[in-house]
Amino acid sequence: MPPDDFVRAVEAVLFAAETPLTIDAIRAHVGAGDVRAALDRLAADYAGRGIGIVRRGDRWQFQTAADMAHMLRRDREEPRKLSRAGIETLAIIAYHEPVTRAEIEAIRGVQISKGTLDVLMEAGWVKPSGRREVPGRPLMFATSPEFLFHFGLASRRHLPGIDDLRAAGLLDPVDLAFDRLEDSEDGGGMAQSLALRRDEP
């Protein structure tokens, strides 16, 4: 049975109201009639819908269904690039884990701000990993499974070693560039890498 005009009026008044309304307040708008019966009818009509009519004390109001509340909040992801400090700190943790903040700073040669570790933890790539059993019991940090997943690594052992970094020209780039220049004079590419291999202890 479709709602009659009295029920419809109660429905519209309740919808447009800026605050929950008492039955008297509703009646002031809709005039004579059984407001309570109309409210019960509406509550029944809206049962099982995405919105409903609820009673708070002696006041009535429309609201969205409780199980739909999470829809009203939307998380929007905005891509953001990690800062230089962030990527360096992450690299140190990845290569040396588990590692304390003081150790990270010692390796980096620069202090790290609180925010840098927070960002890495927010990104889900770094997590606390116990405490170092030294005075002060500092927190240690390690990478997470999400870290491996994000960077497409099967395991931490797949991170390239120092030798690989050197071979790729990622280490000590100034000296390498100089050697490369010397090398090209006699047309041989091998001398450089041979010379480099001899560096190693």
């Binding site: 519209a12 919808f15 447009a16 109201a17 800026e18 605050t19 109001q61 429309f62 609201q63 969205t64 009203l72 909040r73 939307r74 998380d75 929007r76 992801e77 905005e78 891509p79 953001r80 690039k81 990690l82 230089r84 962030g86 990527i87 360096e88 992450l90 690299a91 140190i92 990845a94 290569y95 390796i107 980096r108 040669g109 960002v119 927010e122 990104a123 790539w125 994000h150 960077f151 497409g152 690594l153 991170l159 390239p160 120092i162 970094l165 790729a168 990622l170 280490l171 000590d172 780039p173 100034v174 000296d175 010397e182 006699d186 001398a191 010379a195 480099l196 001899r198 560096d199």
Partner: protein, 240 residues
């Protein structure tokens, strides 16, 4: 239309076209069938009565009055086919303008009569509102990570400079070689003839070492040196 009514309405007009439209409406419902000549006469009569009452008329009413007076005479005079612009054309244009203003006036009225939000229909009084929570999706590439580690290593590891081994002839070796070879020869020999068969790099090193060795042997009085002019070939001979 009485003078009193016109006077009363004076402030109500929104310009001459508005007044003309009101006068035209008094004539007929269908603007396409109004008499322009009658309309012109009504307008001029209105302006005259306003003047008689010494009412201040805005300049644009008077400009319109002058233009309509011209139109009226042009419409009444025997038609001159060469008259430019054609008075009928002017009249028709005026009529088209009135039609358009009238159409918009009616459209505005119909628009205002609609069920308007906030007056006739209402949005929800107290919406919960929708929220958007911005979350950073941090991004970095594996290359960035590795390069960063390389950068740190480069910055903090003890720097080790290594010079690649070169093929060289030391001064000692050159002294020994030149001493032996020069003793085996009787006549002057160019310094190049004392150099070993070798690659260019070693030959250059041997030349430099052998030259210094020759100077040393000459200083010791073991050999003589001869050169015709600067940069000319350098000759060595054992001292007898």
């Amino acid at each position: 239309m009485s003078d009193a009514q016109l006077t009363l309405d004076l402030d109500g007009w929104e310009g001459p076209l508005d007044l003309l439209l009101s006068l035209a409406r008094g004539q007929k419902v269908d603007l396409r069938k109004i008499s322009i000549l009658a309309l012109v006469e009504q307008y001029l009569a209105y302006v005259d009565s306003a003047r008689a009452l010494k009412l201040e008329l805005a300049a644009d009413y008077l400009v319109m009055a002058a233009w309509l007076a011209y139109l009226k005479s042009a419409l009444l005079l025997p038609r001159d086919p060469l008259a430019e612009p054609d008075p009928e054309e002017l009249a028709l244009r005026l009529q088209l303008r009135l039609e358009r203003l009238s159409a918009m006036r009616e459209a505005g009225a119909r628009l205002m009569a609609r069920d308007r939000t906030g007056r006739d229909v209402f949005a929800r009084g107290a919406p919960e509102g929708l929220r958007t929570v911005r979350k950073a999706a941090w991004q970095a590439e594996i290359f960035d990570l590795i390069a960063a580690y390389g950068r740190i290593s480069a910055r903090t590891r003890p720097v080790m400079h290594v010079v690649a081994d070169r093929e060289v002839m030391t001064l000692e070796a050159a002294l020994e070689r030149v001493s032996i070879l020069v003793g085996e020869r009787i006549d002057w020999s160019a310094i190049e003839s004392f150099l070993p068969e070798a690659g260019e790099r070693l030959r250059r090193s041997a030349l430099a070492s052998s030259f210094v060795a020759a100077l040393e042997l000459a200083r010791q009085g073991k050999i003589d040196l001869r050169q015709a002019s600067p940069f000319a070939p350098l000759y060595l001979r054992a001292r007898a």
